[in-house]
């Protein structure tokens, strides 16, 4: 076992210290510390189930070493789920029935949130490109696209508050 060190990192806005060996991926590290909303699907960067944001950018946590996030900010789906102010993506996914088995959902939400920050009114092509690294085997993506568009509308309507 390689040596461990404690890394300081903001996770969903809260400062944490996570211990991790040098060769541990961010995926394994987060799950070992109880962030089970980060899913393991392939551990090769092919499926996107493990996607998180690092300083707002979506990345595959299975391809990221835990030590590299020292001093940075990590967002998981839990970070979009502020009880007082949940991200509109969550309500939109519920309304459209965009969730089936749910295993790809956390990664897709992470990718979608990053998309909507950059592109508040995304086209189908914008969404397709943003989700191209996130596999879903259940839904055929149709309801996911509709939910993302609706969340964009909600965000645009309330955009002045941000």
């Amino acid at each position: 076992m390689s040596s461990e060190k404690a890394i300081a990192v903001q996770i969903n806005g809260i400062g944490r210290e996570l211990s991790a060996p040098a060769n541990e991926t961010l995926l394994d590290c987060l799950r070992r510390h109880g962030f089970f909303e980060v899913k393991s699907g392939c551990e090769k960067g092919d499926c996107g189930a493990c996607a998180v944001q690092i300083d707002g950018e979506p990345v595959d946590s299975c391809l990221t070493l835990a030590w590299t996030v020292e001093g940075r900010s990590v967002t998981t789906l839990e970070g979009l789920n502020d009880t007082d102010n949940p991200h509109p993506l969550i309500a939109a996914f519920l309304e459209h029935g965009a969730v089936q088995c749910g295993y790809c959902t956390p990664g897709i939400m992470i990718a979608a949130e990053a998309l909507l920050r950059e592109t508040p009114e995304p086209s189908d092509d914008d969404i397709a490109i943003a989700l191209s690294g996130n596999l879903c085997r259940c839904t055929g993506y149709t309801k996911i696209f509709a939910a993302i568009k609706q969340a964009g509308e909600v965000l645009r309507a309330g955009g002045n508050d941000d």
Partner: protein, 773 residues
């Protein structure tokens, strides 16, 4: 149909539905949309060990030496098991049943004792303190395998001197169907059209790899919490461990996709053996590569059609020869074969039919359940053949189908009268209408249109004597609990049960909690396979809820001084609709009832129609409870220079009897549309001498968001099915017609056909070149 079924359907036809049929938010949705749902891989225990499976890297060989001494000596390794440690133990590969039926000679070795029959066959199991130590132990195991001659296609496996994978002759299943007189039928034909169609090995590619956690409790019960479609493998696990059935408990969790790939035993057997040996909790999580290599695949089939037709487009005779690659172990191959044979004529009325089907063992990976279960491969063939015949006769493809469609009241090729509506024609008409005008070609990009219609069973083979149980109870505060062993594999199986109970008990879906998927404490519901969960368990919940409703209504009548037939239950109230003064809340009703000793729960069993097996020589007799009918229609664009196929619009129209939750039904149709697109165009597991050489998502290409066409869902509701409120099934049927519709659209675009899936750009270009020669 039994009198009981007839009266049930008549009673259901007139029910006014308040909640069933509405796109309610599923009970499992919030947990999943917020990331708080716990899947099997999210459970841990103190002192837990981590397991690994050592697998053979070649497909056919003899294990000459297996030395685990260095792995056992590694500090932190708790256990290494080999076949030597499991004397005389075997694992069942049959369908788990509630009735204890099991086919003979279908068990397999748990770990390789001497002969290796497929790539990935397990050699040893390891449990260690950390995943890294388990990996290290895996590398320390020394073994020597002497390669043996193998057989990797069904034709070679039937040669007289072929290596024998399965005794005595590599044939693991055979079915015959004989109806009418095909010789006479061909004599009456003006034309005879013959074609052979081929399908490939494919992978389920659920996003959650197989995973579980097992521990032995203080009563000596082996508990296994895992991702599975079938908690009732607990019996086979107990048999393999050599313990009584009540000493193994399987707890499901929300399943991250199944599609048939979590129907057979996966990690639970290894977990049980390691937990039993170490007496410590053990976790086993497959990597994606383990998953690709470790579970059964969809059968490649070759299906040959010889069809006699008259010039005016009536089919007079059909001969079908079917061959399926069952791989190295039997698993569900004979059943998949039967489904293909029964489905082979499609939704068409054909008087003279002769079908011969065989499943053949090879040293390829074993093949088993996959959404569509043989009926999907059958549809790939019969719908392509329908287009080829129409082309040969110069008839409109859709009109040719209409001249031959089965109509309500018709019989199948096995002589089974279909009691429900047969709306294949109606579905095709609606799907074609939804496609609208066909877009025009642009330069070298040709547009093609294709349809495929189908007949597909829902519910298990009727001689399995399938049953399902559910328990429904009302708490003293008026909230409702449903308990059922049904596994929820992501389609909303549990939520649908809640919606049925809510409808019948007059509460909101928010007031229902469903406990499911525990083989020890929830009533056993059977498998979530065979498009049976809603049909079977839905009926059990319907019966339990109806019985409970009757008791509540009788008590309310007493309390409200009214007749029971005047009482309705809705919105959490028991009331007399015509008399606003007579009303009480279900909360008051339940608590008053409780104080009076009213029974507030019901356990019900639903029994599917039971029959004897079909005649072995003629294949005549009922095979399934009922069938779903529908159509998928697509427009595709084919770049004739590059061979690239783009699906533009994809429409599924299905008569599902009655949608319980139409949003969930759309989810099935949309998901089936994209999965079928992958089957048609891009997905193929490549085996070289039985060894899988494409075990990742960068080599095995499932459709992504970039491939999503405009998908439209059309739900028809004949209310004629055997499920709750007249529902049929949609889980598998939504997939079945998609690949043949796309294949037909490509053929329409390029004027020639690719006969083997997947229709890759290379094959398209080659087909165009050959046609131009």
């Amino acid at each position: 149909m039994t009198d009981q079924e007839t009266s049930y359907r008549q009673a259901e036809a007139n029910v006014v539905l308040r909640q069933v049929g509405k796109p309610l938010e599923r009970t499992d949705a919030v947990g999943k949309a917020t990331g708080r749902t716990r899947y099997a891989g999210d459970y841990t225990m103190p002192g837990m060990l981590h397991a690994k499976v050592l697998r053979s890297d070649i497909a056919s060989g003899r294990l000459k030496r297996l030395d685990v001494s260095k792995a056992r000596a590694l500090p932190g390794v708790a256990c290494v098991l080999t076949a030597e440690d499991l004397p005389d133990r075997l694992a069942a590969t049959d369908m788990p049943g509630q009735t204890g039926q099991k086919r003979a000679a279908t068990d397999r070795q748990i770990l390789v004792r001497e002969i290796i029959r497929h790539h990935g066959e397990p050699l040893a199991l390891i449990a260690a303190e950390t995943p890294a130590l388990a990996d290290k132990a895996l590398d320390l195991i020394e073994y020597e395998i002497e390669p043996l001659p193998g057989v990797y296609d069904t034709a070679s496996a039937l040669e007289p001197d072929a290596p024998i994978v399965t005794e005595p002759d590599n044939v693991v299943g055979k079915y015959k169907i004989r109806k009418g007189d095909t010789e006479k039928g061909f004599a009456a034909a003006d034309r005879i059209i013959e074609n052979t169609f081929y399908t490939q090995f494919i992978e389920h590619a659920f996003l959650e790899p197989e995973v579980g956690l097992a521990w032995v409790d203080e009563n000596g019960v082996v508990n296994i919490r895992m991702s599975t479609q079938v908690i009732e493998h607990f019996r086979f696990i107990a048999d393999a461990l050599g313990v009584p059935h009540n000493k193994v408990r399987i707890l499901g969790a929300m399943v991250g996709g199944g599609f048939g790939g979590k129907e057979d035993i996966t990690v639970e057997l290894y977990l049980a053996l390691l937990a039993q040996t170490t007496r410590r909790p053990v976790r086993l999580a497959y990597t994606r590569e383990d998953s690709f290599v470790g579970h059964g695949k969809r059968h490649p089939f070759s299906v040959s059609h010889k069809t006699g037709v008259t010039e005016d487009g009536k089919i007079t005779a059909l001969e079908v020869t079917i061959s399926a690659d069952s791989g190295a172990y039997v698993f569900l191959s004979p059943y998949v074969l039967l489904y293909c044979a029964v489905a082979a004529p499609g939704p068409y009325r054909i008087d003279n039919v002769k079908i011969d089907a065989a499943a053949v063992a090879t040293n390829n990976m074993y093949t088993s359940a996959f959404r569509g279960f043989g009926a999907a491969q059958a549809c790939v063939a019969y719908e392509a053949q329908m287009d080829e015949i129409a082309k040969a006769l110069d008839l409109d493809r859709f009109e040719f189908r209409r001249r031959n469609f089965m109509r309500t009241g018709d019989k199948t090729a096995t002589g089974q009268t279909v009691e429900s509506a047969i709306w294949a024609d109606e579905c095709m008409t609606k799907a074609l209408d939804a496609l609208g005008d066909k877009p025009a070609d642009t330069g070298t990009v040709k547009i093609g249109r294709g349809v495929a219609t189908y007949q597909q069973s829902y519910g298990r083979i009727t001689w399995f004597h399938d049953t399902s149980e559910a328990w429904v109870g009302i708490e003293v505060d008026g909230t409702v609990i449903v308990r059922s062993g049904v596994t929820d594999i992501g389609a909303g199986q549990a939520s649908a049960l809640g919606q049925i109970a809510a409808e019948l008990l007059g509460v909101g879906l928010d007031d229902v909690v469903i406990y499911n998927s525990d083989s020890a404490v929830t009533p056993l519901a059977g498998t979530t396979t065979a498009t049976r969960a809603l049909y079977m368990t839905g009926r059990a919940v319907h019966t339990a809820s109806t019985n409970l409703r009757e008791r509540l209504v009788a008590f309310a009548a007493q309390e409200l001084d009214a007749r029971p037939d005047e009482i309705d239950l809705a919105n959490g109230q028991a009331f007399v609709p015509d008399d606003p003064s007579k009303s009480m809340s279900l909360k008051d009703l339940a608590s008053r009832g409780a104080s009076e000793g009213l029974e507030r729960s019901e356990l019900a069993m639903f029994r599917a129609p039971f029959t004897d097996p079909i005649d072995q020589e003629t294949g005549q007799g009922p095979v399934f409870p009922d069938f779903t009918y529908g159509c998928h229609a697509v427009d595709v664009a084919v770049d004739t220079e590059t061979g690239e196929v783009t699906v533009l619009k994809s429409v599924g129209a299905h008569d599902i009897g009655q949608a319980i939750n139409p949003q969930a039904v759309e989810g099935q149709i949309e998901g089936g549309a994209l999965m079928g697109q992958g089957y048609a165009l891009s997905e193929e597991l490549i085996y070289e001498e039985g060894k899988l050489v494409s075990p990742s998502f960068s080599e095995y290409l499932i459709p992504t968001s970039m491939d999503m066409p405009d998908i439209q869902c059309i739900i028809l509701e004949s209310r004629s099915g055997l499920g709750p409120f007249g529902a049929k099934g949609i889980g598998e049927p939504s997939l079945t017609p998609v690949a043949p519709a796309i294949a037909n659209a490509v053929a329409d675009a390029i004027g020639t056909r690719v006969f083997d899936l997947p229709i890759t750009p290379e094959k398209v270009v080659q087909a165009i070149r050959e046609a131009q020669r």
